[in-house]
Amino acid sequence: MKKIWAWGALVFGLLYFTLPLIGMTNFSLKMRRGEYSFDAYGKVFSDPRFQETFTYSVMQALFTIIFGVLLVVPTAYWVRLKLPRLRPVIEFITLLPLVIPAIVIVFGYIRLYNTSSWLPLTGSLTGTNILLMFGYATLALPYMYRAVDTGLRTIDVATLTEAAQSLGAGWATILAKIILPNVLVAVLSGAFLTFAIVIGEFTMAALLNRPAFGPYMQLLGANRAYEPAALAVIAFGITWGCLGLIQLVSRFQRSAPPKA
């Protein structure tokens, strides 16, 4: 009786989740009348706008990851080492991007950093690109900070720091050669999640008028029939790939020797 009920819930859920995936895959293959083909994918991949926007988003994602790592790893390390009492405060702040909708944050950017403001970031292309990267870093902050902080929990930060210091290492050396390698797996999983977020992001890029992948998908969706489904399959594949990589690296971590 209980088992039937459990199977029922599971099957219902699986049906709900697989139908849209089957639907979009099926639709993406039907561009040629009457038979299945990869025409829609060919169209998408050969579209120069696809290549431009995808490259743009990948570049933005890479810069966001680099910036995020440089910002989050030293901060999380420092808070654990020297300012443990601040931890709840920092944690609260890093969770704020989950509370404040992205559209509100980017609205604030536009009003705060417009051409007539004290920091006219939206006045130039480079400035807008940097602003967008900061926006992405803000969106990724909750995930990045949590991942790194969890990674730091598994190592003895204070002892490692003292050992390195007594051997004459400075702060930069400690961070780059001791702390970062130790939390690399956590950093990587944060990085993959950041990548997935940036690639699919729509609101910020659209409102800042940058040619990113998200707005391109939306534009194509409004004008074409079959290509959007192909894009959805590609986007789902990217998300899947990123989270698969997280699984892979965290399994790698589990097989590493446990902390002393």
Partner: protein
């Protein structure tokens, strides 16, 4: 009284240097998270030339904006409730249902993917499934003569958006509630049974009260999650359905409300709604952690 902190006196002179370590973080967060939000909040109470006013807030109480908030809130509540219900059913099926062990891992992994599969692609997936020529629509029409359109179902509507949002709401629920269900100790059930409780009594009097804070907290989180979702809605409906995020998007793009500061008020309203929902979540989560460690 003032000397009650003995350990703080000797290193007090070095303390200021410690703060320098989080200066980059503090600067970043201030410039790109706190200040922009403050700007919106303050702007909601300002006239275009900087004076203080409540007119913008009052401007929210016009029928069209109220209607937008109302439909946003309704969609968020519906998708949060259904997401909680279905997610809970699926999570308890894999935790207690006696299903094969092999199902759990893949389902949780998939939930991780699906809860991140929001935005534009999700809208395309549902258009290809439940849209006018979607796979399910066509299947029902050609095999059962059953027309979803005739029944009043339209993807670009309240229910359409709710059904679509469920695609990321249910997995989020599964991800959050599974650890809580795992935390229900076997001993509690055994103790209840020894005292003569039936399965229903155990659920009603032991398990459910313990889970209640987690459930309500997750409900609040799912609500906020749906309320802030913009991309899916825009890709799905264009701007035909007037929900708050779409209205705000159009306002930022081209001042559709005729008053730039009404946009601040609109955004401020969004912060208030998601802020309340998240405060409820955080409060209830801290309560539930007492039991579920």
């Amino acid at each position: 009284m003032s000397s009650a902190k003995p350990d703080a006196s000797p290193p007090a002179r070095r303390l200021p240097l410690h703060w320098l370590g989080i200066l980059p973080f503090a600067a970043f967060v201030t410039l790109f998270l706190l200040l922009p939000t403050m700007k919106i909040v303050v702007g909601a109470f300002q006239t275009p030339d900087g004076g203080f006013t409540l007119d913008n807030i009052r401007g929210l109480f016009t029928p069209s904006i109220l209607a937008a908030y109302w439909i946003s809130i309704k969609i968020s509540i519906a998708s949060a409730l259904l997401g909680c219900l279905i997610g809970f059913a699926m999570a308890s099926a894999i935790v207690f249902g006696g299903l094969p062990q092999g199902i759990r891992g893949p389902l949780l992994t998939f939930s991780g993917v699906a809860s991140n599969f929001a935005g534009v692609p999700l809208a395309f997936a549902f258009l290809a499934t439940l849209g006018p020529v979607g796979i399910v629509t066509v299947f029902l029409r050609s095999n059962f003569g059953f027309d979803l359109r005739m029944l009043g179902f339209n993807l670009l509507s309240f229910w359409g958006l709710t059904v679509t949002y469920l695609f990321f709401q249910i997995p989020l629920m599964i991800l959050i509630i599974t650890p809580a269900l795992d935390g229900l100790k076997r001993e509690w059930r055994e103790a209840a049974e020894i005292l003569g409780a039936t399965g229903l009594q155990y659920w009603r009097m032991v398990a459910f009260p313990i889970l209640l804070p987690s459930l309500l907290g997750t409900l609040a989180l799912l609500f906020a999650n749906a309320f802030g979702a913009v991309a899916t809605a825009i890709a799905l409906t264009g701007s035909s359905l007037s929900i708050v995020p779409i209205l705000l998007f159009a306002q930022i793009r081209g001042d559709v409300l005729g008053n730039p500061h009404l946009g601040y008020a609109l955004a401020f309203g969004m912060i208030v709604v998601t802020g309340i929902a998240n405060a409820i979540y955080i409060w209830l989560r801290s309560r539930s952690e007492r039991w579920l460690k």
